[in-house]
């Protein structure tokens, strides 16, 4: 009887349609489903991240060697939500990973760092001078701020990711220009050495980097190579004796480019395939010292914001780099780059949650004291909505930052989707929040002295660097689709042997049938979420079920061509971001309620409000995607863009005729 059901189920037959659009062969999950013009695309970045080695023993650089964890068993919430499943392992309860000693230590660090930024650092001066004041720089080095995650036996503070996040939050609250100077140095500049360096490289370079005696910089971007990182043209050719590489090329927009002694440089190395004899160009990561000779830099770039941070071109003219300075494997550079960026992303969310806290205080201070129309303006609904939304966005960002840092400290190997989501959310939320703060303060907010316009200018770059939000959205969506696709392939295999997989198939059929009928497929957060948040938990469950269904439908509809459907990918990604945001606030608010915090009721309201609006957004987006009008919408958008580009500007003639 089960057999007949399997054979004739219309729901399942749609799954069979996957076969023709897939590449036809039954083939291992290793190779990416998605390449674009044969070049590594956003999703291959995900592969690069998943396929990493474990190096180093410190918690900060901890990466799990668990390559064997198949995606079907992934613990990541984000990976599972694309399959319409809920994995609570990494998100419930809200993780607290620090032991008493670490918590005590961290609390002792917060005071001095905050005091330094309140009394010594002058953000306005730094912005005016377009550099970090010399005294401040010295103070930061003495303070130990340049080696926060370097192991203590090499001269650093050996902080965990969570501890690092807490301190970076303080920096973000006061001066993002200084934040980038520090971040470009340790979050990406020498992170490669922490993650991929061998013992000799670590012992040689980390001590001086930790004290700030030498500064580091991350060199990937080139004039013709921004988002398309794999297309870099800087070349490193190995000598005949094999003992060194000759590196030549130019990098642009390198933070700390004018200050650094130690550069992590990415270059194309011609590699001969041992079996085929074919020579391929693959990226290799190098540790390059300015002292090697041939390294020059340009004048500091004039920027919109983070003016205190030095940004410059760096040129490499036949620089001799010894073989010992290869970071990771020869040809393994792309993986190194993606892992470095992935590893540092949580820091951005942490810093920006601090920035938002700071500007919100300023706005609220104004709203509580400014009287207009006979009333303090915080009593007016328009202002109240602004303040409420700002508070929610800060709450979500903060929750994301500390959940991810805790997951990383717990040894999670899969957090790249969540990290990307946090970067996208944090940078956009911070921009919106600061914008609204200026709005609340009115004309005052526009004035230099209020300190807000500087923050606004500083924030703009956060949506661009370290992976533009647009690329990261594609990354989130494609990564998710890839995992969902693997699940469907599993289904496909099972169909080849329906008798042996009868139980599994019956479950899958009933799940899809229920979904098509609009019934719940049995997912629940009951018992996981605090009872007072049960309603919001239900909203999340409904949203995930809908989301999972739409993801599968889109995948079946487009197959591999989903890569080209950026209009779809963007919307899927927006919903994914909203889903992750919902789960982090549910988790955090649940914890506060369970622990009976004095702020628990307030957090409950923040959580409920967020979930209500996020749920509606997701449902609308998903419905729109499934509707036929979305196809026409995308077609129209494309047509408009083509015409405008062709015309070199707006097409419609002036209403006045001239």
């Amino acid at each position: 009887m089960l057999l007949r059901k399997v054979g004739f189920s219309p729901v399942l037959s749609t799954a069979l349609r996957l076969a023709p659009s897939a590449s036809g062969s039954v083939r291992p999950a290793e190779s990416s489903l998605f390449t674009y013009n044969g070049r590594p695309y956003a999703s291959q970045a995900a592969e690069a991240v998943l396929d990493k080695h474990a190096t180093g023993s410190e918690t900060a650089a901890k990466t799990s060697t668990d390559k064997k964890t198949s995606d079907l068993e992934s613990k990541s919430f984000a990976v599972n939500m694309f399959k319409g499943q809920i994995s609570t392992a990494q998100v419930f309860p809200f993780p607290s990973v620090m032991n008493e000693e670490q918590t005590q230590f961290l609390s002792e660090l917060v005071g001095p760092v905050a005091k330094f930024f309140e009394t010594v650092n002058d953000p306005m001066k730094n912005d005016e001078l377009e550099k970090v004041e010399d005294g401040t720089m010295e103070g930061l080095k003495e303070m130990g701020a340049f080696g926060l995650q370097v192991p203590s036996h090499l001269g650093g503070l050996g902080l965990t990711n969570t501890q690092y996040a807490r301190l970076v939050e303080i920096v973000g609250m006061h001066d993002l220009g200084v934040g980038i100077t520090l971040g470009a140095h340790q979050s990406i500049g020498f992170k490669g050495i922490l993650l991929f360096g061998n013992k000799q490289q670590k012992e040689k370079y980390l001590p001086k980097l930790a004290t700030g005696e030498t500064i580091a910089a991350f060199c990937l971007t080139e004039p013709s190579s921004g988002s398309d990182a794999a297309s870099i043209k800087t070349v490193a050719v190995q000598s005949d004796c094999g003992q060194y590489f000759t590196l030549s090329g130019g990098k642009i927009w390198i933070s700390n480019g004018g200050l650094a002694e130690i550069f992590t440089v990415f270059a194309k190395t011609p590699i001969k395939d041992k079996t085929t004899g074919e020579v391929k160009d693959k990226i290799t990561a190098f540790i390059v010292e300015r002292g090697f000779g041939g390294v020059t830099h340009g004048p500091p770039e004039k920027k919109m914001g983070i003016k205190a941070s030095n940004t410059a071109e760096v040129h490499f003219d036949a620089v001799r780099v010894p073989l010992e300075n290869v970071l990771g494997e020869v040809g393994g550079g792309f993986k190194v780059a993606m892992n470095i960026l992935n590893n540092g992303r949580f820091g951005m969310a942490a810093a920006l949650s601090g920035t938002m806290k700071g500007v919100i205080s300023k706005a609220v201070d104004h709203a509580a004291n400014r009287t207009q129309f006979g009333n303090k303006i915080h009593n007016f609904g328009v202002i109240q909505e602004k303040v409420a939304r700002m508070a929610m966005m800060q709450y979500v960002t903060e929750s994301m930052a500390y959940m991810i840092s805790a997951n990383m400290d717990m040894g999670a190997s899969e957090f790249q989707i969540e990290a990307a989501i946090s970067k996208i959310f944090a940078s956009e939320a911070a921009w919106t929040v600061t914008d609204e703060c200026i709005q609340i303060m009115g004309g005052m907010g526009f004035m230099k002295d209020a300190g807000l316009e500087r923050v606004m200018r500083d924030l703009r770059i956060f949506r661009i660097f370290e992976g533009t939000n647009d690329i990261l959205r594609l990354f989130v969506a494609l990564n998710g689709f890839q995992n969902a696709g693997k699940q469907l392939k599993g289904l496909q295999h099972a169909l080849k042997n329906p008798i042996g997989n009868a139980g599994f198939l019956a479950g899958e059929i009933s799940k899809r049938a229920k979904r098509k009928a609009g019934l719940s497929s049995g997912l629940s957060l009951h018992g996981t979420v605090h009872p007072e948040l049960a309603e919001s938990g239900e909203l999340l469950v409904k949203a995930i079920e809908q989301f999972g269904g739409v993801v599968e439908d889109q995948l079946l509809k487009h197959g591999k061509k989903i890569v080209d459907e950026q209009f779809v990918l963007k919307r899927v990604s927006d919903s994914a971001i909203d889903l992750y945001a919902m789960v982090v606030v549910l988790s955090r608010a649940s914890r506060s309620l369970s622990q009976g915090h004095s702020s628990a009721q307030h957090e409950k309201v923040l959580c409920e409000t967020w979930c209500l609006e996020a749920h509606d957004r997701i449902m609308n987006d998903m419905k729109a995607l499934q509707s036929s009008s979305s196809k026409r919408l995308f077609k129209n958008l494309r047509a408009i863009s083509t015409a405008v580009v062709e015309n070199g500007g707006v097409v419609s003639p002036h209403p006045l005729g001239f």
């Binding site: 230590f105 002792e108 001095p112 005091k115 003495e142 303070m143 130990g144 203590s152 503070l157």
Partner: protein
Amino acid sequence: MAGRVLVGVKRVIDYAVKIRVKPDKTGVVTDGVKHSMNPFCEIAVEEAVRLREKKLMKEVIAVSCGPQQCQETIRTALAMGADRGIHVEVSGKDYENLGPLQVSKIMAALAKKEEASLVIVGKQAIDGDCNQTGQMTAALLDWPQGTFASEVSVDGDGLKVEREIDGGLESVRIKMPAVVTADLRLNEPRYATLPNIMKAKKKKIASVKPADLGVELTSRLEILAVEDPPQRQSGVKVESVQDLVTKLRDSGTL
């Protein structure tokens, strides 16, 4: 002849916090309120550490009297460069009644026990504003004192202390062992750097009870009430001296 310096550090409500009086008027709200080291104690620690760095003293010992949280204050002193700490455990009612007389008895006992050559404390605490502990400690030990110090230098087997007094500056020369109280302009305390905080974790903090030092804590003072200062009344403008005199007579002031 490098000796030991004993530095007293007090845990007080942070200077930037807005103080609130408890509804029952027994004191101020301390629960959940940010605390830190008394600013004058920071200056005292800084001076002690500088003396050791100049090799004029060989060891700096930080002392704090109070409940468990005082260890945080001692750790800040260790992070600033003190060599070890002593936590004198006082809690509950004893802590509420702890005043300069009790603390100076403890400091005197410790100074003798540790064979200190110098005791430095802040001139006063920003909560009590008593300005008594240093002076009482010197009296109990029968040691000379240099209070309101704005400059301290070693002069042979004694100290030269520049004191800030109402009329200006006074220089005194006192023999050691001595007690010095630190005033605002004595020095600018260093920031505790993160590596030093880390190193401070390895430094020792010994715990003692007042009874172990033979000190008895009963207070002879009883706090009757703690109240907010009266709200400032608005002033009144008058047109002439005659009006002023009339108003003053009417209010009973004249």
